[in-house]
């Protein structure tokens, strides 16, 4: 990217951050507030409670409520309750929550439509495959995690492949590519690409609009629109623009672990991977893992305090199954929405690969091999990234 443009974007962003921090609302403890909001994160069920985050005037509020009424991703709600400030967090316990149903509001109706599709997909997968295979497949294809048994989630973390159940770049590429190829047969190329962009947006909302999927979608849309305009673009431009847009809209994302991981991993793959040379097949996947991990290691350590020794090996063993699972399962999902039996057959085809995946994950999950660190000094983080940057600069000059 043009370095002047980059500097301008950074300046705009710092103004935005400054303005944002000046206008942040501070709530008093016990202050009663009432607001309407769309639920944009799937509520987690923890110990007989539903816990989710809602946005009120740029302030994230963590809400805990009983199990009824059941709140779903995409619901539009009126929330009335009292604020309780605890350590850096704004919480709200057991507010009154009412689901609003206003058919005239396009945002509400479309969110509701997406959620109906989402629930149908969850039902289709979980009635076809046993647990945890069904949740693993839902995670790989759509980044949907709410059905996953905790013991399996722990094994995914311990063995270092938790990232496969976060929807990200590979999903977007496949969704966009699939739609544009499918429609390019009988539509004009521009229209097919336009449809892929719509498909990516729909997919991002369906997948739950996490930071990683939003980042990947913006990049994907930029790549596809560049094709309409007939212009090639570099992935790094897309990444910078995606980061700019996301932070401009929601500056609090900068402290979101998913956002940090997604950007650092993509930067690592774009800049560090070429240093290892060009490889094909499994070797290339291992290098991708190494590059992404090198770039994200301090973030992982600082936020989770753990690193899995076997993660590169485990990634090498299972990652080849992911594109196959996405394609077969994804086509199965689309067909299954119309013809459930045929869709189920395709989903069944994923079962052998899923059993293999689970076997590896559970095996390495039990072995453990996790290094844990209580507190990571900032000097280490700063030194680590400065070192990476200087290696990049030096190797760049030699080329």
């Amino acid at each position: 990217m043009n370095s002047k443009l980059l500097v301008i974007l950074l300046i705009i962003l710092s103004f935005r951050l400054y303005y944002f921090s000046q206008n942040q609302i501070h709530f008093a403890n016990g202050q009663q507030i009432s607001f309407e909001t769309a639920i944009l994160s799937q509520p987690q069920t923890i110990g007989g409670r539903q816990v989710f985050t809602a946005n009120y005037k740029n302030q994230k509020i963590q809400i805990s409520t009983g199990l009824l009424p059941e709140i779903n991703y995409g619901d539009y709600t009126l929330i009335v309750g009292k604020i309780s400030n605890q350590k850096n967090k704004v919480l709200m316990y057991f507010p009154k929550i009412e689901t609003i149903n206003n058919p005239a509001n396009i945002l509400q109706t479309s969110l509701k439509g997406v959620n109906i599709v989402r629930q149908k997909l969850i039902a289709l997968f979980s009635k076809t495959l046993p647990s945890p295979s069904s949740s693993l497949l839902l995670g790989i294809i759509f980044g949907i995690k709410e059905q996953m048994p905790k013991s399996f989630t722990d094994n995914l973390r311990t063995s270092g492949v938790f990232h496969v159940i976060a929807a990200s770049g590979m999903n977007v590429t496949l969704v966009g590519g699939f739609i544009s190829i499918a429609f390019a047969y009988f539509l004009k190329r521009q229209i097919a690409i336009g449809l892929s962009i719509l498909g990516i947006v729909f997919y991002a909302i369906l997948a739950g609009a996490e930071a990683s999927i939003v980042r990947a979608s913006i990049m994907g849309i930029l790549v596809f629109s560049a094709q309409i305009l007939g212009r090639q673009t570099l992935a790094i431009n897309g990444l910078s623009l995606a980061g700019f847009v996301m932070l401009f809209i929601d500056p609090t994302l900068i402290s979101d672990v998913g956002f940090q991981l997604s950007f650092a991993a993509t930067l690592g793959i774009l800049y560090l991977k070429p240093l290892f040379g060009n490889k094909e097949g499994i070797a290339s996947e291992v290098l991708t893992t190494v590059a992404a991990q090198t770039a994200t290691l301090p973030i992982l350590l600082a936020n989770f305090g753990t690193y899995s020794v076997y993660s590169i090996l485990v990634n090498g063993l299972v990652l080849w199954t992911v594109p196959i699972l996405m394609m077969v399962g994804g086509v199965g999902a689309i067909i299954g929405l119309i013809l459930p039996q045929l869709g189920q057959l395709l989903i069944y085809l994923c079962y052998p690969l899923l059993l293999y995946f689970e076997g590896i994950v559970n095996f390495f999950g039990k072995i453990g091999g996790v290094i844990s660190i209580k507190a990571l000094p900032w000097e280490f983080i700063a030194g680590y990234y400065c070192l990476l940057v200087s290696i990049l600069i030096i190797s760049h000059k030699e080329v």
């Binding site: 007989g48 009983g66 199990l67 009824l68 059941e70 039902a123 979980s126 009635k127 495959l129 046993p130 647990s131 945890p132 295979s133 059905q147 048994p149 905790k150 013991s151 399996f152 196959i324 077969v328 069944y348 085809l349 994923c350 079962y351 052998p352 690969l353 059993l355």
Partner: protein, 284 residues
Amino acid sequence: MKKTFLTVSILLFLFGCILIYQNITYNDKKLHVVICDVGQGDAIFMRTPDGSDILIDGGPNNSVLSCLSRHMPIWDKTIEVMIMTHPHADHLTGLIDVLKRYRVLMFGTGKNGCSTDLCKKLIEQLKQNGTAQKYLYQGDRFAIKDGIALETLCPTQEWVSQHLVAKSSDENGSSVIELLTYKKFKALFAADAQASDMEKIDMLTGIIDLLKVPHHGSKTGLNSDILDILNPNIAAISVGAKNRYGHPASFTLELLKSLNIKTLRTDQVGDIEIVSDGNNWRVK
């Protein structure tokens, strides 16, 4: 295109192999009783010789689903009988997840207060599934063609009419206790019963083979008199590692040990599976 066809063919072939494997392993014409490892809670799954499925309680989370998928073939999505011994979260929660994924033909539970959000959610889900519901009393019996009988020993109708609106503290006391019989094999599932409840029913069972120890091995569930009458060969304790209640109690463990009863714990061995042909049994 050729490559896609090859991939799909390989997957189809492998899936076919899985089906053959499951066809052989799940049609052994034996009774399988599994005390599922669900952490601090109860979930007991039974598969009868003819392949009917029975589930008693669902545990505190959705890990019962993994247990079901470990012990049911992939094509079987029907549970014939589901029983909730009492509406506490550590017995109830997983049942909701099961109802979302499986067709359940019959649901039975004791008549007591279903006042929590969780319990209401379960009832809502049962209605949505169109599952038949039944209150269980002493003497009720589910008999299956292959010779399996599941009989309710507790609560009695008198007990329920005396405590019609049970308070939350009484819910363990009103636990549904079930006795499974298959020819000579007998298993007693004692839910969260107290010793006082056990004393009322121990004469009804005769000598049993398997005892699901009451209340995760708490010290108030058993005493030596009860064990003398039941005289089980094997005791299974469904309990979570490092739980905050201190279950199982050392009193119970020592009591079982002193009577030479082989004791298995889900926090130590995971799922406990007992296989029986009606005459003999073994731990798998």
